[in-house]
Symmetry: D3
Subunit: 236 residues, 6 copies
């Protein structure tokens, strides 16, 4: 069984942060280019979070061999619990960068999920396995016809966004966002504060409050909110 040393409380907490909140807070922290554009949830859109392990494919050329064979397999064999596989295939739509075998291994290793700037296959099998994947679409063919697994654990581009090994990834029904690790603490602190306020705002709106009277929470609602918060705190 994979070592769980990577599985830290940061990831557990990030799993509660909607990508919408993360995107917005990171922008406030000065990091705006964090959304992985063009990927769709293909097997599940429940929220997952993890630490990036990266894999880069290059287009196959018949006369070229990659620096090492099977680096994608090696990477997945060494995934640790709560690592998030980030695949850069530069948007290639003609060969799957992931199928149900590697997905099964990734899942067995405890992978948090997969984001792929490319396409996948065996969607039904991957759904059964229970691995959450965001990608450009599906293609039933293996990548062996079109792509070369070139290198791993390097900085990559994915959905037009730069991802480095060790970055955090959050993905949900809105898509996937990269969280620079140095900003994770500030993000979590702000996001958790916002979560409670957002829940309170939702309650007010549900009960018929006007928008400005509920979101962002106005000064006039602060006292009410503090009471709500202390009840919430007591319930934990």
């Amino acid at each position: 069984m994979p070592d769980s040393s990577v599985a830290d409380s940061t990831i557990a907490r990030l799993r509660n942060v909607p990508t919408a909140t993360a995107k917005q807070v990171l922008r406030g922290l000065g990091v705006d280019r964090t959304f992985l554009f063009g990927l769709r949830a293909l097997t599940s859109d429940r929220r997952v979070a993890g630490k990036a392990r990266t894999l880069r494919f290059l287009p196959l050329r018949e006369d070229v061999k990659p620096p090492a064979q099977g680096v994608n397999r090696r990477l997945i064999d060494t995934l640790e619990r709560d690592e998030f596989l980030v695949i850069d295939a530069a948007g290639n739509m003609e060969g799957a960068v992931l199928g149900d075998m590697l997905a099964a291994r990734a899942h067995a290793r405890g992978a948090a999920g997969v984001v792929a700037d490319g396409v996948i296959r065996d969607v039904e099998g991957i759904r059964d396995i229970g691995l959450a994947v965001w990608a450009r679409g599906t293609h039933p063919d293996a990548n062996s016809r079109n792509l070369l697994a070139w290198e791993v654990d390097v900085t990559v581009g994915c959905g037009g966004t730069l991802v480095q090994p060790g970055d955090y990834i959050i993905a949900d029904a809105d898509g996937a966002v990269v969280v620079p690790p140095q900003h994770a603490a500030a993000l979590l602190s702000k996001a958790e504060e916002m979560a409670l306020e957002d829940e309170f705002s939702q309650r007010l709106l549900h009960d018929g409050a006007a928008i400005d009277d509920a979101y962002p929470l106005p000064q006039s609602r602060r006292a009410e909110f503090e009471k709500f918060k202390s009840i919430k705190d007591a319930q934990r």
Copy 2:
């Protein structure tokens, strides 16, 4: 609670008209350009219908202020029951024109649904709220980075189709269609007639009839249909 004066029987009846029927009947009535192209059902594809309230975004430019601040919030605060929010963002994919807070308020006001020529965020939250939204896709960022809520209750373009305040909108799994109010009565009358015939045709086809013997309903089936109709009428 919002006044229900807008909620008229027209809307209740339009809710039973498939967009496929509406599109086709309106064409017969001389209005062909009624389909909002390029939008997908993102939170539910159950059929909804309502009266258009319009909101127009323009691209943000750092030195430009909109004529009034927060017009999108004001519009949603004044939505009446069964109004349908129609958002024109000219297809911009880089900032959400709707999130779960405004969606919650729209739902609390009794909004019928939302069609947006742009993207939305908080998809999971909006699903929980129960608001049906058709849009171009998702982006976790707020629109404040890319778009300006410019004006409301004006004629807009949405999905390549012109929509005016007060038009009816029907949306379902096939997409969204605008219904000019002056044609609503004729549409309903024709559509309701077709609905019964279509149900009867479906039954015939299910039972093995050839297409020409079932749809459009041939003269030879009229007597049978009249019997079916009278039984149906009796059951109401």
Copy 3:
């Protein structure tokens, strides 16, 4: 009721072959261009398989009449059990090539499914009928405004792939693949062998095996696999 002469055991067995397996095996057999690119499962993504019947639409031009009227209706009226309707509309997005009436008739005839290089309407109705359709998207309008049903039972292009009457089609969550009939036996034989191996590999991976130790199945696992196989065979 349609004659079941077409429903042969080949189709029953193809229904168990994932498109991913079929695509890969056919490539090994020298036929690479078999994936129908750009179509999505719109009503169900359960796997279906059948024998191709083809229908070709051409763009409507107001002064041109097709060689015969209603050939699409005639084709669907004569579908046999387990035939798969393959529609070539050259990617036209402006008028539906299938609605719930023809879908009902196709289903009543025992059609296996539909792949369409075009758009469909009445998606909800077709879901209710239970017919599986892969297409480019939806449009609520009938094709009568934009397309002419031109000819049937001819060689067509669909999703950038050539399909001939009598080819087999398999479609599932990964998309649709054409199977040349002369390769069906070899495909089935190879695919069924692979299915058992794949199931065994999945089990190994689930139990924590490294990728090279599980897939493709290494020599060192052969004995173990043979035991698994004989148990499986005994269970049948």
Copy 4:
């Protein structure tokens, strides 16, 4: 040398009709779907006109042979003066449907031009030969890798528009338009009348007339126009 029987005065006159005029007049005559969408002038955008000869490619599949070999070569060998080659490759971008050899032969036969719903190669060579081609773009590879020349002299789709053998084609800097032969006389008559009026309107606008005072030509300008016309007629 090719027989010039096809080269009729209709074609000579159509060469003077801008596609913009043709498109608009044909619409007035009840034929609206005549523009070949998505093609660009690749070797010259001077206006050319001719009579359609059609060629249809289908996607290559390794196990399929076309009904006859080299039908594209046979077609081009039998082009007559002022025939216009219309190629349907359903928008395939991966293999050229025309290169400089077939272009040289087409030019030697007196071809008017080529419209191709696909890509071409040897652009520079074709420019040197002097053949005008409208297509989707360029690809240096021959079509032998991706496409099969399937049939000739049949009704095809090209740029989303139906073209039949014997239709007229006009192409210029605005794109290409198909002219149904039964409407050619009415088109020419109307277009030639418009040409003189348009020339007169241009002159008025150049001299500072307001738009309504020049185009469409108002009643108040009729006398002046008749004088202009009689001078023009005298000059011929």
Copy 5:
């Protein structure tokens, strides 16, 4: 002849500012969203500059009349020298927003150029007239079939960028950029300084200097540059 009061020296000077320089300097001044994305030079790519007059089209709907008829004609009739026509058709590709008649009138009025988020026709005629147009492409049909000229002299979106009446527009081979008038003086001052430096850097690079030794101009080159500048100044 049009009054030349609008033709100010600002425009004359902007004509010398490459869009690349303008885009970059405006970003430095805090206005980043100024590039009109997706438009191509269709009749000439020489640099032009002018003051924006705006025109907004909405999609045609058969039952809707625009607030006033022919507002596009009225706008063009009242263009002043060096005004730049900015057309918002939300990217519609199916009907031309400009043809050679309105182009002739615009040119006669002294228009600087046209940017259109839509398509144009009569490209050859407009080239002959000498009006520079940036647009999405060409379509030979008039807009009367698909678009309604809705309003003029209002804030519009064009190429994903907001444009207000009175903004400056510069367009050249790189595309078109909007210049907020309040930033024009600062832009010109900075741009003209850069132009001389850029010319000097180009000379250094042409003569073999390394990039860091030439651009941006390093301190070590300042004295040399001042000499170059004084010679240039003397030559004026």
Copy 6:
């Protein structure tokens, strides 16, 4: 002045090989994936050839610094005569990967040309400098806003094709093709043979030969061709 050691006779000979010939011959040599898809000639489409030097951009993220600053400048400063700059920006359209300053330096160093999977600016300036560039389009903004020059002299993807430092690149009006160096000699030998035959075939076609009688050159024309060839050889 740059050392000319790289400028070998191979490059001089490749300059005479059309990309169409190169693509086809390389396919015959077993290397099929050599076309750089999606790039257009922006400053000139005359044929150029050279040896690849590679540059890879990654998307900018505000918190990330590239491994070294200004690697694009360093690369261009060290270009040798007849080297071909190959830029991988993964298709990013929002910031130029090349402007007139780096282009001037590249040209002064003797660069053969540039292929860029991204956009460029200062098109007019680069045309004046005389550097031939194939790219996705233009954007007036510098890349500093959107991209990071990440690494040089590594294997990259460009237009969906793998390019390694030291590969040859040929580009002309049909686009750009990569030539693996180990296949250069075989390509040249075959291409030069084909060039003479192609010239002879063109002559035959021009003089009215049927296609099969001219291309590919039939046995019956061999003697005639040998005479043509000996005259050609004598003329050299």
